[in-house]
Symmetry: C2
Subunit: 577 residues, 2 copies
Amino acid sequence: MKIVLAQCNFTVGDFAGNCEKISAIYALHADSADAVVFSELALSGYYPSDLLTQPEFLAVQDLALVKLTQLTAGKRAALITGFIDRNLGSGKPLHNALCVLADGALVYRYHKRLLPTYNIFDEARHFEPGTLPGVFTLGGNRIGLAICEDLWNDQADLEYDDVPIKELSDAGIAMVLSINASPSNLGKYRERLARFQSTAARHQIAILSLNQVGGNDEIVFDGSSFYIDREGKLKAELAAFASDSATFEFDRDLNLVRFARSNELTKGKPATALGSALVSAPAFFHAQITLGLRDYARKCGFKQVVVGSSGGIDSALTIALAAHALGPENVLAVTMPSRYSSDGSVDDSVSLCSAYGVELRTAPIEAQFALAVADFERAHGEVPSPLTQQNIQARLRGRMLMEVTNHSGHLLLSTGNKSEMSVGYATLYGDMNGGLNLIGDLYKMDVYALSRWINETAGRELIPQIIIDKEPSAELAPGQKDSDALPIYPVLDAILRLAIEGPSLAPDEATDLRAFLSATPLSDVDRVLKLIARAEFKRRQAPPIIRCQRRAFGIGWRMPIAQAFVGSAAALLGRDY
Amino acid sequence: MKIVLAQCNFTVGDFAGNCEKISAIYALHADSADAVVFSELALSGYYPSDLLTQPEFLAVQDLALVKLTQLTAGKRAALITGFIDRNLGSGKPLHNALCVLADGALVYRYHKRLLPTYNIFDEARHFEPGTLPGVFTLGGNRIGLAICEDLWNDQADLEYDDVPIKELSDAGIAMVLSINASPSNLGKYRERLARFQSTAARHQIAILSLNQVGGNDEIVFDGSSFYIDREGKLKAELAAFASDSATFEFDRDLNLVRFARSNELTKGKPATALGSALVSAPAFFHAQITLGLRDYARKCGFKQVVVGSSGGIDSALTIALAAHALGPENVLAVTMPSRYSSDGSVDDSVSLCSAYGVELRTAPIEAQFALAVADFERAHGEVPSPLTQQNIQARLRGRMLMEVTNHSGHLLLSTGNKSEMSVGYATLYGDMNGGLNLIGDLYKMDVYALSRWINETAGRELIPQIIIDKEPSAELAPGQKDSDALPIYPVLDAILRLAIEGPSLAPDEATDLRAFLSATPLSDVDRVLKLIARAEFKRRQAPPIIRCQRRAFGIGWRMPIAQAFVGSAAALLGRDY
């Protein structure tokens, strides 16, 4: 039995494009394979969210599904794909479903049983869970079928009552084919493999798992589809962060006897790296953000980006990542010095941009700043407060960058890191401006680590060392330093990780962070917790951030604004609580 | 049997404040009533959303719950309140729950069975549904217990498998006590009463329903708690859009024999209007927005607001609403004329502000605009495009308004209406700036209707007629009119209602809208549908909008940005689809 897994990059709502992609790959294997498999909600893209509430969305999908069904007439290969099915019973009107199309007919359908509804997932909002196990006979073999979350419920701390993998195993199924839209984040690759290796071994069931790849708004899917045998051994995997496909050939006992990656989806380019090459934090961030930016730009129709270059590490890293992802010719940097800018702010921007071959333009804000301050005084009879003056500078710059967007159609990338976004040290309608934020899910220490990694990997100083070494400052007031108002970044980041990702951290990570913070005064921690709560109104208006960590700001972080609860340092640190 | 319903306004996460409010009301009735009842999630406020993922949030609630429990020791009255309970089984770790506290102990707990997860609701994200009916013996009577959604599942088109009201009725229960957090929107008051009147009659069960009141971010709860007897007759109700409480006295057969509203929550003020006085669209919008603004400002700690006054209807209405809600002394208006402003833009702002007694300051943008255009040319070697120049003006104004926020601590109200927000005719980081948008869920025609209503109700021209009559224009280019680029507003609004609220409209509403649009060219409708899809990136960064219609932009509208689906006019209008 031959099964082809097609690890594709789909666009949400692009039924024509997705259908064409599926058709082309299916055609290549229609006469030679027993099945060609596509990922969860492949036709519509994952995740359509409230587009699912539009009746026409379903109608258009159905037309595409009919086309795909017709393709299979007279062919050997079944086409297995994720799709949206209608629920004819009570409850939500739709199912997140899988269908088997064979010889011109829809011959089997399976409804996802476990619907993730936490973090970035909203599936219970749109779908009714299925109630029956997925079992289908393919090439004479009974195989199990599952969709993503269905196979994740197999641990001590059960999230759902049903355990589909156990049902399949109890029914004597030797292999389960799973289609996924499993997003990546730091540590996820290893976590996913480790979990399925133990699940496969526990239930003595092989797992053939197809994941999608690509960025969709904030979320990036890493692909890394895999086959794990019933002893729990990883026997084959597809590329990480790239489209890929492979043929899996099984003997009559469903042992894998041949595995071949093909390059039909990689346009003949050499095979890209596997996930195991990208497990270090900086390597992972780099791959995740690169793909996230490329796909956001492509799927939204942008070719070029613009970035404000302050001479600081955040904008430098953003420029570096954008130049890598899109090519330096598609990146425009603008330096906008003021009276408070250090000499380095322009010089270091120049070094950075020339190392990358990125065009840098200079647009001083001094005259506009002076006029804004004078106009404020004329209108309101007072000199604007120091904070007001700081924000005026940030907002002048934010506006000048948006001028490039409006005038030339560039996508503006905002440059706030996660530490800043957490405590609200970014100016709304100023440096927060942008269509996308590449580094908003990197804590400041991650920003440093990734910047150093870029230079090490390149074997030269792409990001000038002087930028990496300088003391962080917003440069909005004389002699201003970030450390004036905040704990030093290693301490701040540890507090933030505990506060933001606490419930999703592994117990030993939380323990390590608490140990690291054992000498930090509770008052410092309390102050940070207050800042986090008070900055919610800013985050609500932030551009999408490419998600990198377990818990990112954005669609997976839903906090009320007008609320009074602030956690206590003692409870967070587990000191006397 | 005497039951007191306390229709309170709680703040999310304010355990101390909420607990104090509950304690004070309970104390007044502890010796005279059989039960004092508080609304859904009263202790934590509704809806805490992802605060529920913080373990300390639960721990703090538990301390408050212990306090409340102790209050009941030796007292006649049970204290019945919504709270967050832990789930000891599999699934989500929490229950949305109700407890009965009596004589110093928690004597009964009920877990909400139907968890709304659609539109603005996210309950399946945090809670596991209960599985058992709620029945408790109070004052010798067996009464049913329910939480909000539990009683809404009783129509032809069942959203859930379970029908708790039917189970209670089948078990011979004569009355169900329901605690709610049921948000208001246009038409909801009548819909709610009509539905429960028919439900009560169908099942021959009386419904005593307590709703909370108040604004929480985008969502406003109208109160309007009620008692409907088992024949389906509305026998008693509490105030709309105001805190209120009332004692319900029942005979041994659970017939209501006495109903008395008290003014303990209204500080002796005369009783406020019932919902039936607020069913006209403008009256409803006025009440909803007034309460929404008051509570957002109070719960976030703002006393004063600032609004940009363009001389147009949107900013005029925003100023009028703010002056009514907070008092004119707490509203600051700023007019920021440019070379493109009509003579009326300042004059009409002056008339408006003087009619309301609102301070108006003038801050011309001409010099800054000229400098911005010149600086752009210096930096980029080109004159900024017409669109860029328009956006520069809007962003200068947006920044100048934020200066007031930063300098004086005012809350900035943005002024985009729903028609504008739908098609993206608002400038991100410009006129979209603000902490809250009062009219972002009013279509342009609603804006006119509410403005006229304000004048009619006042019996004088508070909003100058000239502002109501002038042709809508952004005044960002010479002679610019909204109708240059968009269908006229009655047509645009009908298209938007169908496109945005379509699936939630009543069938006859949709039919009426389609009839109204029967002569509209499909190409006009297609253009609007494209604009809606393309403006998603702007709406993602918009401030919270006070929700007024069934479907509002914000937390109840979850659309991907990088997506390709645009509905077709033919399908929307049902012409040939």
